[in-house]
Amino acid sequence: MSQVASAGHHVDTGTVLLEASHVTMRFGGLTAVNDVSLVVHPGEIFGLIGPNGAGKTTFFNCLTGLYKPTSGEVRFAGELLPPQPRLVVRAGMARTFQNIRLFHNMTALENVMVGMYTRTKTNAIDAVFRLPRHRREEVESTERARELLAFVGLTASADMLSRNLPYGDQRRLEIARALATEPKLLLLDEPTAGMNPQETRQAEDLIFRIRDLGLAVLVIEHDMRFIFNLCDRVCCLVRGEVLVQGSGDVVQNDPRVIEAYIGSPAEELPSTKPATPEPGTEDGEGPADA
């Protein structure tokens, strides 16, 4: 992945990067994700929306190997998805978490370096004897991690413990850590939750820049303005099922989408208020994500 942003952007609709077909996830009697199929192309920003409890995070967990779907299959770059999170990462898919899951007592730099784990090869022997590979990789990874921190705008915070970072910075650090795995597809679970409008705009800009690096982005958000600014295509999930899927305009103007949001209790119009719980007070996460 190069740091140089390519001019403009180009969705390669001819090839398929991620293909989920008929993914269903049941927890006992509850069907959290029901027969969801979608396709993400390289270089595309794909939005996933839906009211609380629609199954968006659960779907992410199915994609990233944290859950094994009850039925259906997921292919990434043509290959059937490996069953373990770390193999998914190696295949080229990385994610962030709705409730930030950084390594709190590590510095920002260290967090990013952990993300490089799959892309580095130093083994115990190299490390114990401080062989050249260890030295070279340490220098390279440090440098690369600093670049990534600079890319998300955290240059000055490299040596801060991640727990001491402000909330918005923690979200950006999670993105940097995910980028460190050198993914082809980045999955963001509510990247602007808890951010103020200015930070949200920065996040928007960041996602565009990530796309310009040639990555595809699959993003869950409740902030409709954010979603429709950003995404090439959007899918709306309701009660685990795909309600509508298509270009931003199509989804935005679908009366059923508005209805789904208004219909859900205690929610205002989606375009004016993100239906995201405040940071720290959110619940309703699956155990693997809690």
Binding site: L66, F97, F103, N105, A124, R130, A178, T181
Partner: protein, 576 residues
């Protein structure tokens, strides 16, 4: 001890309090010129007028410190220069007084117990006690000083290095002296004094400064520590008794360091670690030249040691592979069971039912001394006019083994693998979701730790001359774990200290033999309550134990930035 005295009271009484405190300190200083004890059998003979015993001389350091801390500020802090502002004068004086009181109480109690009643305490003892109580009471009325900032002062490099060297010499002396104290009372008084000094130095801010100096002069520190450790046998005049304890301490410490990889770095609870030491010892025993060895293959020790380590790590893989996928509590139970299974198996491999490998409960006696490159470890010799006995040889060998283990420990810790371990400890699921092969890393720690224990076990077999299953009981695993926890999980220095304390105390406190376990339990409870991160705290571990402490988090961050630079590959780890 928390005595809450309102600040106004403290300000109002600060002059009288200081005067009384000084009087108390002076009383304590004078007391060592008087006899403390009626009989000469108690402690190290405190029956003389005007001729203090060694313990009394040690003790007096504390009141002298208290006196200085109380009296010097009267000169005016401005006149003392900038370092005066960096010290916590009042609180340090309080600590010094408390420490002095502690020593006096232990000493008087020892006199009373050893001679049969407080009646045997002579006026000097009482003067010291009254002085200490006065000093403590008075210093409680002094206003609290701000936190010491000694570490913020710039100090020249030569000063840092000199202090490190002096400190090492003091450590050597302390270790030699403590070992020479055969009487439990003497030992306890000295231990109380040593703990007291450490607390005072900490309160003054000396340790923060020292930490910085140590980080700046890492190599000097490590080198001088090894020189001192190497020199230790020369202080013993060929005394086998003490060298035997010292070499046992090192074997125990080496094993604890191996366990520290598993517990301290990865955060896995292993309650059967002693089995790996046992596996190494039995392997070395059955391959040794002992007449009772059961395998007719006697490779040179270099080969044996590798086989021993491999056998231990294979055992580690064997129980690690199925259990490391499940969560921590299961692992604790499985390893606990494994430790017992190992011991029982060794007991039963006596040929009555299956092969005879270990001669059952009688084990394998008569293991000859090690022979490395033609050097027989049983041969005593004279170096620089000092008798170097058999145990000193093993001591030096273990020193090399420990150096190796430290290199492995540090270099793994400061590498991609070490980062993976921290990530596993912090949030295993997130680590997995970021591509870290958590299972393989845990297995690596488990098998690697087992290998190191196996190596230590191979030396232990020859050191102990005989290997029996009953040397490897659960209690030993518990002690190993306690050494790691007490010393400070994830640190090298801490675990070395923890291992020394836990091995040395039982040797020196035979007097209390029946209560040793009780004392040990109390010590652990005390530590868990007041300092769960251990004597020497690994910064990250400390944060994990005090998750809510924002101030600590900021401090640690400053530390990381100023003198740790974790991933500067030039700074951390050791070259071979």
């Amino acid at each position: 001890m928390r005595v809450v005295i309102p600040d106004e009271t403290k300000v109002r009484f600060r002059y009288p309090a200081r005067a009384v405190g000084i009087a108390g300190a002076v009383a304590m200083i004078v007391s060592i010129l008087l006899p403390w004890s009626y009989g000469s059998d108690a402690l190290d003979d405190m029956t003389f007028y005007g001729a203090p015993s060694p313990l009394q001389l040690f003790f007096v350091i504390l009141p002298v410190l208290a006196l200085l801390l109380l009296a010097v500020p009267l000169v005016g802090k401005q006149r003392l220069g900038r370092w005066a502002k960096a010290l916590a004068w009042n609180t340090s004086a309080k600590t010094a007084s408390l420490a002095a009181l502690g020593v006096v109480v232990v000493a008087l109690a020892a006199i009373a117990i050893e001679l049969g009643g407080l009646i045997n305490v002579e006026p000097g003892g009482w003067v010291a006690l009254v002085g200490a109580v006065l000093a403590v009471a008075a210093t409680l009325f002094l206003p609290d000083s701000p936190e010491p900032t000694l570490d913020r002062l710039k100090s020249p490099r030569w000063l840092q290095i000199t202090v490190i060297a002096v400190l090492m010499a003091v450590l050597l002396f302390t270790a030699a002296y403590a070992l020479s104290l055969d009487d439990a009372g003497d030992f306890l008084v000295f231990a109380a004094f040593a703990v007291g000094i450490v607390l005072v130095l900490r309160q003054v801010g000396a340790f923060a400064w020292l930490g910085l100096a140590a980080a700046n002069n890492n190599r000097v520190l490590v080198l001088s520590a090894f020189v001192v450790a190497f020199a230790f046998p020369f202080t013993q005049n060929g005394s086998d008794a003490n060298m035997s304890i010292a070499s046992q301490v090192l074997i125990f410490a080496a094993t604890a360091l191996g366990l520290n990889i598993v517990v301290g770095l990865v955060g896995l609870l292993d309650l059967g670690y002693i089995a790996f030491l046992g596996a190494g010892a039995f392997t070395a025993a059955v391959l040794s030249e002992s007449a009772f060895a059961t395998i007719d293959f006697h490779p040179p020790f270099i080969v044996t040691v590798l086989i021993a380590g491999t056998v231990a790590s294979l055992l580690g893989l064997l129980i690690g592979a199925p259990t490391l996928r499940v969560s921590g509590d299961y692992l604790a139970i499985v390893t606990l069971a494994f430790g017992e299974i190992f011991r029982i198996t060794m007991n039963n491999l006596d040929g009555s039912d299956g092969p005879n490998l270990t001669n059952g409960s009688s084990g394998i006696p008569g293991i000859p001394d090690l022979n490395l490159f033609g050097f027989d470890f049983g041969d005593p010799h004279v170096i620089l006019g000092v008798d170097i006995g058999r145990f000193a040889n093993y001591y030096w060998l273990m020193l090399v083994v420990i150096a190796m283990i430290i290199v492995v420990f540090m270099n793994l810790n400061y590498s991609r693998i070490g980062r993976g371990w921290v990530a596993i400890r912090e949030d295993e699921l997130a680590a997995e979701a970021m591509g870290v092969n958590t299972f393989a890393l845990k297995l690596l720690a488990f098998a690697g730790g087992a290998f190191l224990a196996g190596v230590a076990g191979a030396v232990k077999a020859h050191h102990d001359v005989s290997v029996t299953p009953e040397q490897y009981v659960f209690l030993e695993s518990a002690f190993l774990l306690a050494a790691v926890v007490l010393g400070g999980m994830g640190t090298v220095t801490g675990v070395l200290i923890g291992a020394t304390i836990l091995k040395l105390l039982p040797e020196k406190l035979r007097f209390f033999s029946d209560y040793r376990l009780l004392l040990f339990g109390l010590l652990m409870v005390f530590m868990m309550r007041f300092r769960p991160e251990g004597i020497i705290a690994d910064e990250r571990r400390q944060l994990e134990f005090h998750a809510e402490d924002e101030e600590l988090a900021t401090d640690v961050e400053e530390d990381l930035i100023t003198h740790h630079a974790h991933f500067n590959p030039e700074r951390k780890g050791f070259e071979l």
